[in-house]
Subunit: 322 residues, 2 copies
Amino acid sequence: MTRISPDDVHAAARRLAGVAHRTPVLRSRTLDERVGATVLLKAEGYQRTGSFKFRGAFNRISAIPQADTARGVVAWSSGNHAQAVALAAALRGAPATIVMPEDAPASKVAATQGYGAEIVRYDRYHEDREEVGRKLVAEQGLTDVPPYDHPLIMAGQGTAALELVQEAGRLDVLLVCVGGGGLIAGCATAVKGLHPDTRVIGVEPAAGDDVKRSLEAGERVRIPIPRTIADGQQVDVPGALTFPVIRDLVDEIRLATDSQIVDAMRFLFERMKVVAEPSGACALAALLADPEPFGGLRVGVTLSGANVGVDRFVELLGPDPP
Amino acid sequence: MTRISPDDVHAAARRLAGVAHRTPVLRSRTLDERVGATVLLKAEGYQRTGSFKFRGAFNRISAIPQADTARGVVAWSSGNHAQAVALAAALRGAPATIVMPEDAPASKVAATQGYGAEIVRYDRYHEDREEVGRKLVAEQGLTDVPPYDHPLIMAGQGTAALELVQEAGRLDVLLVCVGGGGLIAGCATAVKGLHPDTRVIGVEPAAGDDVKRSLEAGERVRIPIPRTIADGQQVDVPGALTFPVIRDLVDEIRLATDSQIVDAMRFLFERMKVVAEPSGACALAALLADPEPFGGLRVGVTLSGANVGVDRFVELLGPDPP
């Protein structure tokens, strides 16, 4: 039984106290007027390493027995999870190995190395990254830190919603972006534990609607790797452990197109002076694109991350978008 | 006698309580490591209307006698001061008239109208904007709200530094961007009133060094309107009232080039997920470009505003900068 409980999220919050940032809850009169609701943005871009991923990574790594901690941890990721694991491991005194493709962006490699992690490269045309990682687990006794499919990862991510409700009070609705499902599984568990009648809505990129399809099918459905600017949500199938939680607790899935995501990034930049990466703006994008069902409600929204370089931002929002 | 005292800043803080935002003081490990100091950023981009200007405008307008308030206020500006006056007037129930050139950007006109102000256009090739404004003062009995050269404006702007020191404690140095000088006059008054040994350093765009030259000359020196991306600091001469305060209280003027300002905007975006307009990043730019004198110190820095649209940001930071 790997379903998580609200108590697991509270336990994670205790482990993260004084280590993770309590990220700000942002408000905007302009946003409230535009949506016709009271909107509360949980700004995880201001979390350590620039996304919510630090919460789960630290929660998982701090539960590893001492002897295993000394041998180290491994993760396979070239995204936000890589930096989160690198920093969380460093804070726990665990050597971290991150498996990244040979052609990973230099900036992501440098950021991850900057937290003290060792990078192991693989050829993504001829090798499987999970296989490379599993070999390190088997041969060197490293502990793997999966990006979402683990009870401690889910529980850690849920602390974002717990903090939001502790600070802002009861919500009518919570909108959460969905990639592998770790964030929404934890957040739904936390929020429903406090207020069972709060609706939890997941938001996927329109091109990557694997969770929506899976809920409709009643089982995990695999889709082709989605083409979307929301690189944190390029997931082809819901997690084996996150899916049952989502099926039980999430009320609805909405979709946001790439152009709606860009609109939300622009709104955040110009009206709220806040940087969001595409996946970070995905949940807000769905709200801005179709605010009508939310009129008059108290709506929580996760802004999940802000790791977008200026050059990529210019590509996405400049005069010649991709 | 129009010199302001620390008491004037405290009085302004009382008027602004519950009306202006207490903007956040931002920290960054990366920034501290790069500068080799403890750096505390006062993020006025999160002030109402997106810049510190709201502080002075509200302080000034709330001191206008009731009968004059009902007749209304006037300001000549197409920048941050215009929006600040428009909102402050609306909150005090004063009709606001803003004099703007016929070719002012539509976005600035719309933002100012959005706060309920009436826009009066003038032809900037054939008319003088101050003359247009003064005529409204004379004929309609409007009260003018100058952008910096007024004791209540200076005192209001000084509340930014007062809040910074109240929250962060004593500073060794405070770096403040300088345009007309209202912000630095108020901030220097506030900070020196609390800690006379805190050094206050003004930062001008390299192309617009009128305050630096004036201090060297011992009197106000007029320069050609500077060509710089820092449009909030395109001022050709220090204010008649701000200059004596700067001369008495400011320890040093530093300069930042346009390319240093762009570097600081990029740093804020990528490492701190914060939007700054060029003038807003000017003080930080000088610190990043020459951190050596600040090693080991507690350094406060004003980020004065964040009113830059995505399109302008892309122009400035994209592959083909102006």
